[in-house]
């Protein structure tokens, strides 16, 4: 902020601009790093080099703008042009040998972490945390909350370590559905209607797995929602001490008068009066701008009787209301001066 800081800030910005401007030096830098670590080549060879696409075998050495993408279904890396080529025409199986996951182009993305295991764990944790979003205030006691946290961690690790994935996923989805239903009980629930049809899961589940992610998810979700003998199974999880959500009171209709209403003593307004002097009452050009004859009638009658029962002779005698000549120098003297800013 200060004047002294300014030049240094400016030079900083300049440095940043300089470094950002030349990609060449950056790539040279990274290449030199590769050369400087002679202990790594063995591992790099085992990974068949991160710089080579596993699908088309093209190397970044030949195309320096090459980007590698992963899909969170299976976390197999491939280059951008392969993704374009294989998945442009819709979902397709993963081209890596042995992986039969169906992938979609939209879900491919640049990886954030260098280690794909970390990437996957972060993804799983994010997904679990989105569903399991209870807070301490939602529980009866701290003990219940801690139990809940432990359960959440267990679920997370089950998913990460691929233990009981099928069941855990199903329960997780059931829980999510239950939460949603609780939040918005009036929302149309398509899944419930489709539920009974897919209740038999024995051999069809394999086929379903080969289908697209979304389709599979709805299928499993619906299977999770099928009427189960135990209520806990239907809700996915049940936590001890979890408070029932209180439905907020529906908002009342807005009243611009704040609860007041005019209750006339001396008149009642009719919608229509038979008279000549107010001839414009039925012309469209007056209606168009929002003018209404009934408004005028009620205004006129309110004016006619507003204050009929107000007797100033009495009310002003004991009232201090009009004694406002306090701060104003009145009576022909000096006027109150205008407020002088400077």
């Amino acid at each position: 902020m200060s004047r002294v800081a300014r030049p240094s800030g400016a030079s900083n910005r300049k440095a940043v601009e300089d470094s950002g401007a030349s990609n060449l030096s950056h790539s040279l830098h990274s290449m030199s790093l590769q050369h400087q670590s002679p202990s790594k080549p063995a591992r790099a060879a085992a990974d068949s080099s991160p710089e080579v696409c596993q699908v088309c075998k093209s190397s970044r050495y030949l195309n320096q703008h090459m980007r590698f993408l992963v899909n969170p279904e299976c976390y197999h890396k491939m280059c951008e042009s392969c993704v374009d080529r294989i998945f442009s025409h819709g979902p397709a199986p993963c081209p890596i040998a042995g992986c039969k996951k169906t992938l979609r182009k939209a879900r491919f993305r640049m990886q954030t972490f260098e280690d794909l295991k970390v990437e996957r764990e972060v993804d799983i944790r994010r997904r679990v945390a989105k569903v399991m979003n209870k807070q301490e205030v939602d529980f009866e006691s701290l003990r219940d909350y801690n139990d809940y946290l432990e359960t959440v961690e267990e679920i997370t690790w089950n998913l990460i370590l691929k233990i009981d994935v099928e069941q855990t996923e199903r329960r997780l989805r059931a829980f999510e559905e239950a939460q949603k239903a609780e939040l918005n009980p009036n929302a149309p629930r398509r899944v419930m209607n489709a539920g009974p049809d897919t209740s038999t899961l024995s051999d069809t589940s394999h086929v379903i797995l080969k289908k697209g992610g979304t389709q599979r998810r709805t299928q499993t979700a619906s299977s999770g929602n099928t009427p189960d003998p135990s209520g806990a199974e239907e809700r996915g999880f049940s936590f001890k001490g979890l408070k029932k959500r209180k439905v907020p009171e529906p908002e009342k209709a807005f009243d611009p008068w704040g609860g007041y209403s005019v209750d006339a003593l001396y008149y009642s307004v009719k919608d229509e009066y038979d008279h000549k002097f107010f001839a414009v009452k039925h012309e469209a050009k007056f209606y168009a701008s929002g003018y209404k004859a009934p408004e005028y009638y009620s205004h006129a009658l309110r004016d006619a009787f507003g204050g009929l029962g107000v007797f100033l002779n009495e009310e002003m005698a004991d009232l201090k209301l009009n004694a406002i000549d306090v701060p104003l120098a009145v009576g022909g003297g000096r006027d109150v001066e205008m407020n002088d800013v400077f």
Binding site: L265, D303, G307, L312, N322, V330, G332, V336
Partner: protein, 428 residues
């Protein structure tokens, strides 16, 4: 919560700040008069002393001439009247009231001359009446105040269609824009920024609407007492002394016009607005125009047996006395509406003549006064010393504060730092 129309009226500034009992009203006028008289005497004495001093200075060199008085044109100020020494004879409270009424009559003629709508004129006159409750006609000249009051009323009633001050000034003879604008703030301040004036005109139309219903037999009254609309219709026709509803409607039109004239003149030129509510005023005017039908109409609103009835009728009757007591009132509608205003009563004439000798010399040139009040206007070569000093201090402090926010000033740089919004950003 339910409120009645009376409660609604109690919320208005007219009720809160501009309604009085007769005694409070005269008390207030007395106070204003006493204060103004003291000021006038003080200022005229000071003015005379100064003139005397200058006269002795110039006595040797130049022959006596009254041309270079401080007030330019040199007309109408008490200082110019040839009454050296002698005590200044100020207006009394009653004379002041007469003078204000005269000003209002002149304003009414002005509105007629400008062909303004009646409610604009009425608003302007009420502004003047309110203004002269707290200011004296000795201090501020009525004709100057009237022009600005009209301009304010125009702006209030017509909004953006009112036009600018120069437009308005061009419609008046011998008036510049500055004449219109100069007293504006003074007036608005005396009005306490209460611009709303509740007029009885729209209410009169409401009454007219219901009366037409009454004579047509389609009227539903709140206090019918078993009287059918047909019975009420018969009673109304009898009260109007006509046989058919169509004649009755015609007659009601005449009654409406007469009542409106009373409201536009007598109600404006008396203290009716200060002492009664618009509803009472309009019913009083209607009662003057057509007593029988109005009384019938009132009994349909408030039954004669109701406890409030005598008081309501009493209040309306006393308002009737006030309105009919004004010299503009005539029993039957007349074509030449402002004819009564051509001749002034002798007492008013005398008061107007007396006013000429007791005007406050300090407040006669409102344009110069207004210019002096404005910021940084250089008077006599320099600002008042204390004011200048205060402004300088404030300015310095403000600069320091802005430094604290934007960082200290660039020192030793070649370019002058810019002190406006377009200062270059200090961080990248």
């Amino acid at each position: 919560m339910r409120v009645t129309e009376d409660d609604l009226y109690r919320q208005s500034t007219q009720y809160k700040h501009w309604s009085f009992t007769p005694s409070r009203l005269s008390e207030l006028r007395q106070k204003t008069n006493a204060h103004a008289a003291a000021q006038v005497k003080l200022h005229i004495a000071g003015d005379r002393a100064e003139r005397a001093k200058r006269a002795t200075r110039e006595a040797s060199s130049a022959p006596e001439s009254g041309a270079d008085t401080p007030n330019g044109n040199g007309t109408g100020t008490g200082a110019n009247t040839p009454t050296p020494g002698g005590d200044v004879d100020c207006l009394t409270m009653d004379e002041e009231k007469m003078v204000v009424d005269k000003f209002c009559e002149t304003a009414m003629k002005l509105g007629d001359f400008l062909k303004l709508q009646p409610d604009v004129t009425a608003t302007a006159i009420q502004f003047m009446r309110r203004f002269y409750l707290y200011n004296s006609p000795m201090t501020y000249d009525g004709n100057k105040i009237a022009k600005t009051a009209f301009f304010l009323a125009l702006k209030l009633e017509l909004g953006t269609r009112a036009g600018s001050a120069s437009d308005f000034a061009s419609r008046l003879p011998k008036t510049s824009r500055d004449d219109i604008v100069a007293p504006e703030y003074t007036i608005v301040q005396a009005l306490r920024f209460n611009f709303e004036v509740r007029h009885p005109f729209r209410g009169l139309k409401g009454v007219h609407l219901e009366l037409e219903d009454l004579v047509r037999g389609t009227y539903a009254a709140p206090a019918q007492h078993g009287r059918t609309p047909e019975a009420l219709q018969a009673a109304a026709l009898q009260a109007l002394e006509v046989s058919s509803p169509d004649d009755a409607v015609l007659k009601l039109g005449n009654i409406y016009a007469h009542a409106k004239d009373i409201l536009a003149m007598a109600a404006q030129l008396t203290d009716a607005y200060f002492l009664y509510t618009p509803s009472q005023i309009l019913l009083a005017a209607h009662l003057l125009a057509a007593p029988a039908i109005t009384e019938l109409y009132l009994t349909t609103k408030v039954p004669a047996s109701a406890p409030a009835y005598p008081q309501i009728i009493g209040t309306i009757k006393s308002c009737t006395d006030l309105l009919s007591g004004h010299r503009s009132y005539s029993k039957n509608p007349v074509a030449e509406k402002l004819a009564w205003a051509d001749t002034d009563p002798p007492a008013t004439k005398k008061a107007m003549k007396k006013l000429k000798s007791c005007k406050d010399p300090l407040t006669q040139d409102l344009v110069a006064l207004n210019a002096g009040k404005k910021r940084d206007v250089v008077r006599d070569g320099s600002l008042e010393e204390s004011k200048a000093k205060r402004r300088k201090l404030n300015r310095e402090r403000a600069e320091q504060e802005s430094d604290a926010f934007w960082g200290p000033e660039l020192r030793g740089g070649s370019a002058q730092p810019q002190r406006d919004g377009s200062e270059p950003k200090k961080e990248g």
